[in-house]
């Protein structure tokens, strides 16, 4: 018996010899929820990984590249899903309402795709941290949840190398693009790292958070910095 993680509907699975002996563990969503989950497919922006009509760099990335401070800090970002209203609902329920279990929705997708995204095989996985206050509110960090799924399938260590200052605790999702770009870097290093790094977060919107973190790691001596987010 399987129930949809999102809408609690019963998932009907046809019983055949193969599903009887090898239960298909991938189905966490019912068909109607599954169909609303929009994957990023086809041509993408080579840097931020967003879906594009043709293979060029998107406007946001052009801005990042023309910014001297942040040019080539982050090599590229890859994401799995488009930010559709349905996705927004899922993220709200997961992150803000705190339904931790919804991470299992993403797990099979991450397992399938993560190996094809990055050129190197060994890197350190660094999740984007929350402030202590927010961590207490949510009781879990969504980026760590994703990082652990990746680590589980990729056999690379998760290292909590970053920490976040309390003074800049306003939620990113409540700020405009201009406000986000002018904010100070809220992160600081807690461990020294000099390996290749995969930064992990849930959403890439303007890329400010990821670029802040990447800048810090680059200055600390990490050579290649990639990032992974669920949603772009």
């Amino acid at each position: 018996m399987m129930y949809c993680l999102k809408c609690q509907d019963w998932i009907s699975q046809p019983v055949t010899w193969s599903t009887l002996f090898l239960p298909n563990e991938q189905t966490q969503l019912c068909d109607s929820c599954q169909s609303q989950l929009k994957r990023i497919a086809g041509t993408i922006c080579e840097r931020c990984g967003r879906q594009m009509p043709n293979e060029t760099m998107c406007e946001d990335c052009n801005k990042w590249q023309s910014n001297k401070k942040y040019r080539d800090t982050l090599l590229f970002n890859r994401s799995l899903f488009q930010y559709t209203p349905f996705m927004q609902e899922v993220i709200t329920q997961w992150k803000y309402r705190g339904d931790y279990q919804l991470k299992d929705i993403f797990s099979p997708y991450i397992k399938k795709e993560i190996r094809n995204f990055y050129p190197t095989k060994s890197f350190t996985i660094v999740p984007i941290p929350l402030t202590n206050e927010r961590l207490h509110d949510r009781a879990f960090n969504q980026a760590i949840a994703i990082a652990e799924i990746i680590a589980h399938h990729h056999k690379n260590p998760v290292i909590h190398a970053l920490s976040r200052n309390v003074s800049h605790s306003e939620k990113q999702s409540k700020k405009s693009r201009q406000q986000r770009i002018t904010t100070k870097n809220p992160f600081f290093l807690t461990k020294s790292l000099e390996t290749d790094v995969l930064l992990v977060d849930d959403i890439y919107t303007t890329g400010m958070t990821i670029h802040h973190a990447a800048k810090l790691l680059q200055e600390a001596g990490c050579a290649h910095i990639y990032s992974f987010t669920l949603v772009r």
Binding site: R97, G98, Y100, Q101, H136, R138, A139, F140
Partner: protein, 445 residues
């Protein structure tokens, strides 16, 4: 500060309590508040003490960053705040709240029709003698809210706490201003998700059943509107919540136009007292549905071709009325709407409210819809057609409710109700029998 009005009868998570830590500690120390565990386990089975959930599928593990241990949380009531196993629930243990004494709380000046008055008296007596429950079986459009006024007046003069619970937020929004006008000196609050009228100290509370999750042994009188409506009779949690929100010696009043079989059975076994209001406030009988068979109706609807029965009906009906067409499934809406130049509306329609409002203002002539408009909406002068009335979504209750949309206004108490089907079902026969029974009872008055 007087906490008892804010906290009495509540069951809150620490995050829902707008007090500082020292204040909360003070309340515990002086034994004015008690704490309960949020999730308990008995014989290996977990139960959420907030929503009563015992479905083990709906408990999940979370590596909690607050207490640094992995533990359970409840997924059933997560929409109204997350219950972590390491959290506690806070209940009031102090003095009872003193509601202001009022001798004349009701400022409503209207009068009740004799059948309404009879029901109102019955409710009043049930509350006075502290009987356990009473079901008011009142036909669609009989004026249920007004019937409650004498009973609410009675309860307020005895400084009792009253709750009007309904499964739907629309109804709360509609009732709130009416009650506020009728009882201007009483502390009234309206509870639904994101309600602006939440004061947390209401003596009279109008609430969606979901919001009762924050109450325990709070109310002397519990009035449940539309007890047969969808989420209530479907979801065990809601029944649990309403029972828990009542005090031990509370009186429950159920209002419905179409009781479910379990209530009907209790009535016929004389285990549930019942009061009928078999006639509408304008005193005219309910329109009786006409049945019309059409061969291959489902195929025709699928293909989007013409239904002869409907065509015939359209040519003979009076032009002055608007028309409501019900279809069983959303995919059929568009096809039917296109054919008759009508507007379609369904549950997930973003413009749902606007479209219904336009229809009410007679800007739209024909509205095609699913069962979402089966209850709670009043259009003064409409004809009603159901296409494929034999579909399983149209059960007896739904058919009676849909038929009850016609003839609501005293100016036009008639109205045609037509069920087009491809084979008569029990639901249709039972619905017509129920309407006829009510009309017969109404005649006797």
């Amino acid at each position: 500060m007087n906490f008892s009005k804010f906290l009495a009868g509540k069951l809150l998570l620490t995050s829902e309590l707008p007090l500082t830590k020292p204040t909360i500690d003070y309340l515990f120390r002086t034994n004015q508040s008690k704490q309960l565990p949020s999730i308990t386990t008995k014989y290996g089975r977990h139960q959420c003490n907030r929503c009563g959930n015992r479905n083990q599928q709906l408990f999940a593990d979370i590596p909690c960053a607050r207490c640094d241990h992995p533990h359970l949380y409840c997924r059933n009531c997560i929409q109204t705040g997350r219950v972590l196993q390491c959290d506690i629930l806070i209940v009031w243990n102090g003095s009872k709240p003193a509601w202001p004494l009022q001798t004349q709380p009701c400022h409503w000046t209207g009068t009740l029709t004799p059948p309404q008055q009879k029901a109102a008296d019955a409710i009043e007596q049930t509350i006075e003698y502290k009987q356990k429950e009473l079901l008011i079986w009142a036909v669609c459009g009989s004026g249920k809210t007004e019937m409650l006024f004498p009973a609410i007046t009675k309860a307020i003069t005895e400084s009792k706490r009253i709750c009007i619970a309904t499964p739907r937020a629309d109804v709360v929004r509609e009732l709130f201003p009416r009650l506020k006008q009728a009882f201007p000196d009483t502390e009234i609050e309206a509870l639904y998700a994101d309600s602006p009228d939440r004061t947390d100290k209401g003596q009279l509370i109008i609430s969606t059943t979901h919001q009762l999750i924050r109450y325990q042994e709070a109310f002397d009188v519990m009035i449940i509107d539309e007890i047969d409506a969808f989420p209530f009779h479907h979801d065990k949690t809601l029944a649990y919540l309403t029972t828990r929100a009542c005090k031990k010696d509370a009186t429950s009043i159920y209002l419905t136009a179409t009781p479910r079989p379990e209530h009907k059975q209790k009535i016929s076994h004389k285990k549930l007292p019942v009061q009928f209001v078999p006639i509408r406030f304008h005193g005219q009988p309910l329109p009786i549905p006409q049945l019309k068979i059409e061969i291959n109706l489902r195929k025709k609807l699928q293909k989007g071709t013409e239904s002869k029965a409907l065509q015939q009906f359209l040519t003979t009906r009076p032009e002055s009325r608007q028309l409501l067409i019900f279809v069983p499934k959303i995919p059929l809406l568009k096809k039917v709407a296109e054919r008759y130049q009508a507007i379609a509306v369904h549950a997930e329609d973003p413009d749902r409210k606007e479209k219904v409002e336009q229809f009410r203002q007679k800007k739209i002539d024909i509205l095609v819809t699913t069962t979402i408009l089966e209850r709670g909406v009043t259009f003064p002068s409409v004809d009603v057609v159901i296409l494929d009335a034999g579909h399983h979504v149209f059960d007896e209750a739904a058919l009676v409710q849909i038929a009850g949309r016609a003839g609501r206004s005293p100016d036009d108490p008639g109205g045609n109700v037509l069920f087009i089907h491809q084979g008569k079902t029990n639901a249709m026969e039972d619905a017509i029998a129920q309407i006829k029974m009510m009309n017969k009872k109404g005649k006797k008055l």
